[in-house]
Symmetry: C2
């Protein structure tokens, strides 16, 4: 397995620092976020990525498609079209073996109509498919843990993400251990996903849950997830790309980013890689 | 729909208080918990229930079946056999229309082997089926929201609960809106459940999640759940029993129990009942 450091794991590092510590930790790939890219501007970010010699494993993130208001909906689609262009530009500048993947989070509930919000998310993806194909970018739907169904992501299971993705030849899915580890249908849905697995992200589910449930993610080995079992499923389904470590955790964010990158390598080798 | 007040909603009230405020609020049914029953002893509790004239809609709760250690496993099974007897005794003393239902929570993960824990939970239920049938008690598997898969309940979806329940003629399931509202397969699984729906519990999913995720439940109308939609599914599946309001929420627990019972009636009539 090939490790990639997702920038969210070192959230407070700017792009220059993130690229540097990734390289210094001996990691060959990085998962980028739009915000630190925007801080330096896309053109300069692409040059920095090119200079780094790193692969790019994905860009986080597009999505947030569930608004009812037509103006908000148009704004979200426009924002996603910019994200598609950014993905193409950044990956085009990165080392060979990079993945032109834009991670999509569906968005939460503006009202109590869950089926309606889910339908709007699917419709928005349909509207973006041609733009993504033209840019040779893979839209990757990330099912989110049901804990986030109300306020962040109404696509809650891998099976549900595949129900949307399979309508289009070029739409993929993200398998993130944090979001899917509990799913009784995980094995069958990962097999079903097969070549649609566009990204594989790992971090652990820790208990007790921290007070901010958004930051309830741990370094691999600190929680309850059987990484070898999930990795085996993903590998047997044919996924051979980079494996992103993406951890939202205040204590990890507060630590030195190079230390975090080095701990990530160690945790990955001990619990995920083989 | 017939409202039942689950004792957990007024957690700090003893059994006598709970029976009294339920009656005073004009509610005809109560969902009991083992701990307040044990405080007064089973015989006296049954007499108090008989005197109250209330129906009993369920006893919470059995389960916690996932221990690996054989001694712990035997202890859990013995405890569940006691809970089966308690269910039969309490329901036998209660008003006609009561439901001899013991709610089962699977238990959490003792290690990282999620499939193993799930198999042990199913095996334990198999061991209890004859005892339950002899006591004319329905074992009701409660799928728990995936947020609790690690530390409380490894049975995470209604479909998974039905996969276990359907092995036995007399095992049912609990549909609790808090646990199942996010499930993309909810409609099809409620239809599949049909007569196996042994209890219907309601409370709301509120955001932001409180710091203690165990207490993240709200009064109906305070959160994101579309109760009429879930109620319609459950009713169309043939369920005609009591509807328990079960809310774990510190602010509600700290309030006067009669006030809570009265608020429960109002919230139920406004958002769930029809």
């Amino acid at each position: 397995m090939k490790l990639s450091l997702n920038q969210a794991t070192i959230k407070y590092a700017d792009l220059e620092t993130a690229l540097r510590v990734t390289r210094e930790a001996g990691i060959a790939s990085i998962g980028l976020w739009r915000e630190p890219v925007a801080e330096v501007g896309l053109v300069r970010a692409a040059a920095m990525v090119a200079d780094s010699g790193l692969r790019v494993s994905s860009l986080c993130r597009g999505g947030f498609f569930t608004a009812v208001d037509p103006a908000l909906r148009r704004a979200a689609l426009d924002e996603n079209r910019r994200a598609i262009e950014e993905t193409a530009t950044l990956v085009g500048a990165a080392a060979p073996g990079s993945a032109p993947v834009l991670v999509l989070v569906a968005g939460g509930l503006p009202d109590r109509d869950l089926p309606g919000a889910r339908a709007r998310a699917a419709d928005a993806i349909a509207e973006l498919v041609d733009d993504a194909a033209a840019a040779r970018v893979v839209l990757a739907i990330e099912p989110m843990h049901p804990i986030y169904a109300a306020d962040r992501g109404v696509i809650s299971t891998l099976g549900q993400a595949l129900d949307v993705a399979e309508r289009f030849p070029t739409v993929g899915v993200v398998v993130d251990t944090f979001h899917v580890w509990w799913d009784p249908q995980l094995a069958e849905q990962v097999r079903r996903a097969g070549p649609r697995i566009a990204a594989y992200q790992v971090c652990d589910w820790i208990t007790p849950l921290p007070p901010d449930a958004l930051l309830a993610r741990g370094m691999m080995g600190d929680g309850h997830i059987d990484f070898p079992a999930v990795t085996r499923l993903v590998t047997e389904a044919g996924y051979a790309g980079d494996v992103e470590v993406e951890i939202f955790n205040q204590a990890i964010w507060d630590a030195d980013p190079l230390d975090v990158a080095l701990r990530t390598v160690k945790s990955f080798e001990g619990h995920v890689g083989a």
